[in-house]
């Protein structure tokens, strides 16, 4: 009865792991794997190459960011939200549960593309910001026209506009104090409405925070979306387990004068410690598979700064000339990394976990 499952399991998990270990110690370069003599075991050379590659360390660092955001973001937020619902601090239990879980139902690819549009410099964030900037700037300009008397005093007007404008004015006019004045004077005095509009279009500050293509911040949207996607899942898990806690214990604590924070910290938290540890494991293995999300959001770019280990591995194996031994070494590193994290979780749970 176990046999069919076990064979499939070996096919999907067991054999690939063995294969990964063998190939990561070899110089296999593609081609026939069985029967050929074109490759052999070469020892730990691949791992030396891996550790010497700065992109590996970068990918590992990004993975650690995502794990941190997941474990220190998703879990606590999920816990707090669940607690607020559980203690009826907020009403509409069904609504929060229903809505916050929605992101987990949507394909990661869809989520990735959607958020990359939202964060793009032509997307809705930028658009809203630009509308806001434009109306603020427009108010400033019309104020200036009123106080300076408009085109009747072009020097003063030019001066004031330069002061009120962002530094991009220097790219629009090569010498603002001269060129802007010429520009202003090219309009009919009665046509200040058009002039003001044109000035806003030309000079209003613009949103140009292109998060996903800036090396130093590109990971922030990715971490944010990771958080956004999974908070609801942990909310559901924690809430369901909180509802299993004996109500009497909490009422007792209340009557003994425990504050809300004390109830949360001393009663609810310890009785969920096992669930939290298991969720953390779920969370870690989930965050290590953030492959599709990053592929859809940035493809690992710009200049490979948002690569995580799985993207880095994918790149080595399937993009350009395949480097299978190195890719397999990365696979082994991912497995070891996740097992190490899971081990840490178990140790923490054993050390700090509450008794049940």
């Amino acid at each position: 009865m176990v046999l069919p499952s076990f064979l499939i399991y070996l096919f999907v998990f067991g054999f690939p792991i063995v294969l990964a270990i063998v190939l990561s110690l070899s110089n296999y370069g593609g081609g026939k794997m069985f029967g050929g003599t074109s490759w052999g075991i070469t020892g730990f050379r691949q791992y030396q190459r891996l550790f010497a590659d700065p992109y590996f360390w970068n990918a590992l660092k990004n993975n650690i960011y995502i794990v941190l955001v997941s474990v220190l973001g998703q879990l606590p937020l999920g816990f707090i939200f669940a607690y607020l619902i559980y203690r009826k601090t907020v009403k509409f239990e069904e609504f929060w549960q229903g809505v916050l879980y929605v992101p987990a139902m949507i394909s990661t690819i869809v989520v990735g593309i959607l958020w990359s549009i939202i964060f793009s410099p032509y997307g809705p964030i930028a658009d809203t910001a630009n509308h806001y900037y434009a109306s603020a700037y427009s108010a400033k300009i019309s104020g200036i026209f009123q106080t300076t008397g408009g085109l009747s005093d072009p020097d003063e007007l030019t001066d004031q506009i330069i002061k009120a404008s962002p530094s991009t004015i220097n790219t629009v006019f090569s010498d603002p104090s001269v060129d802007l004045k010429d520009f202003l004077l090219s309009y009919e005095p009665g046509d200040t409405a058009t002039l003001q509009k044109d000035l806003v279009n030309l000079l209003a500050p613009r949103w140009n925070a292109d998060f996903l293509s800036k090396n130093n911040v590109a990971m922030i949207p990715i971490c944010f979306v990771t958080l956004w996607m999974w908070v609801g899942t942990y909310l559901l898990i924690f809430l369901a387990n909180m509802q299993k806690i004996d109500r009497g214990i909490i009422e007792a604590a209340q009557i003994d004068g425990a504050s809300e924070m004390q109830i949360m910290g001393r009663v609810v938290l310890p009785s969920l410690s096992k669930v939290i540890a298991n969720s953390a494991i779920l969370c870690i293995s989930g965050s290590l598979s953030g492959f599709a999300l990053i592929l859809a959001m940035t493809g690992g770019g710009p200049a490979r700064v948002t690569q995580v280990l799985s993207i880095y591995m994918y790149d080595k194996a399937f993009m350009g000339a395949p480097d299978y031994p190195l890719a397999n070494a990365i696979a082994i590193m991912i497995v070891l990394f996740s097992l190490a994290l899971v081990g840490i979780m178990f140790a923490l749970e054993r050390r700090f976990g509450g008794k049940e």
């Binding site: 009865m1 176990v2 069919p4 499952s5 499939i8 399991y9 096919f11 999907v12 998990f13 054999f15 990964a20 190939l23 026939k32 794997m33 069985f34 029967g35 009826k88 601090t89 907020v90 549960q97 809505v99 916050l100 929605v102 987990a104 139902m105 949507i106 394909s107 990661t108 690819i109 869809v110 593309i113 959607l114 549009i117 809705p124 899942t233 559901l236 369901a240 387990n241 009497g248 009422e251 007792a252 209340q254 009557i255 003994d256 809300e260 096992k274 969720s279 293995s285 290590l288 598979s289 492959f291 599709a292 592929l295 859809a296 493809g299 799985s310 890719a327 991912i334 996740s338 097992l339």
Partner: protein
């Protein structure tokens, strides 16, 4: 100690428990959770409405409702993504693997829970390790495995003259390969959940059936399957969305359009086409709508199932 005292005191006074949370705390709670709910609903609603705008209208009227409603985006996205081919595959992969996962998990779970054998411990343990591994980390060796096996078998059969000179396919670029690997990837969790569940079925029932002369397969068919309906339901409902949305594995297992699933088709709309917002939005809506409808239909069961996902070990 305090517990008992407290319960007694409450019993005596018969007072309602004090309502927690000050006004300020409540306001902050509503605000933070409201922001999260907003960040969930708004982008999706925005996406939905934007998918009915032309790209030109989108540029000038990004945040408002569409003025000229158009279905053109859907028509061309459907064509470019070749979704007519992909939808069928997605349904097949999702339902086929779900049935396979559920059946095999129940069968194996029954064996682990109720049939005593020395091998149970180690084999069950090896499945548990599978829960901790992310299958995606193994996509490269998995790819090499399926392609090499196909090539190996192909060469062998060719040397016997059994197949022609064409490419031999068993696992790579076949629906069968996708199904097997999908089933395998979800088995560890499925078997774990089923084993724990079936352990809770009283052994006396099984022993009684054995005394009546029923074999294990008979017992499985007539007793276990019937009594395991709730866990089978939970397992299916958890697997359907994750299989439907699966991307990383099928991305390496299949390279031909007529074998691809929906997420692979949606992925086409990232990057390259991205200046053509209209089609992109339509493709995204096509991508998320089936599972949103599934969620609306089965929300109660999904919610219950998710919280079972983090069972105690």
């Amino acid at each position: 100690m305090n517990q008992q005292q407290g319960v007694q005191m409450r019993g005596k006074r018969g007072k309602k428990p004090i309502r927690p949370g000050t006004i300020l705390g409540k306001a902050v709670a509503y605000l933070v959770m409201g922001i999260f709910a907003f960040m969930t609903i708004y982008p999706l609603v925005w996406l939905f409405f934007s998918s009915f705008k032309t790209t030109t209208e989108f540029r000038t009227n990004m945040m408002g409702l569409p003025i000229d409603w158009t279905l053109e985006n859907y028509r061309s996205a459907w064509k470019i993504g070749e979704f007519d081919k992909l939808i069928g595959n997605s349904v097949l992969y999702t339902l086929g693997s779900t049935v396979g996962i559920t059946f095999l998990s129940l069968l194996t779970g029954f064996a682990f829970a109720k049939i005593k054998s020395k091998a149970t411990g180690p084999i069950y343990g090896s499945f548990i390790i599978g829960i901790l591994l992310t299958i995606q980390s193994l996509m490269v060796p998995l790819f090499l495995e399926v392609t090499s096996i196909d090539r190996g078998i192909g060469d062998f059969l060719r040397s016997l003259g059994l197949v022609g000179s064409g490419e031999f396919r068993l696992f790579h670029n076949t629906r069968f390969g996708v199904l097997i690997i999908y089933i395998g990837s979800a088995l560890p969790v499925g078997i774990y959940m089923c084993t724990e569940y079936i352990r809770g079925i009283p052994s006396a029932i099984i022993e009684a059936a054995q005394i009546d002369g029923a074999g294990y397969f008979r017992i499985f068919r007539s007793i276990i399957v019937g009594m395991s309906k709730p866990i089978a339901m939970t397992l299916s409902i958890l697997n359907i969305p994750s299989l439907w949305n699966e991307f990383a594995l099928i991305n390496i297992l299949v390279s031909e359009t007529n074998l691809k699933s929906l997420p692979l088709g949606i992925y086409k709309f990232s990057g390259g086409l991205s200046s053509d917002y209209g089609k992109q939005f339509a493709a995204l809506v096509i991508g998320m709508l089936p599972m949103l409808l599934f969620y609306i239909a089965f929300r109660k069961q999904i919610t219950a199932g998710v919280s079972m996902g983090a069972l105690k070990e």
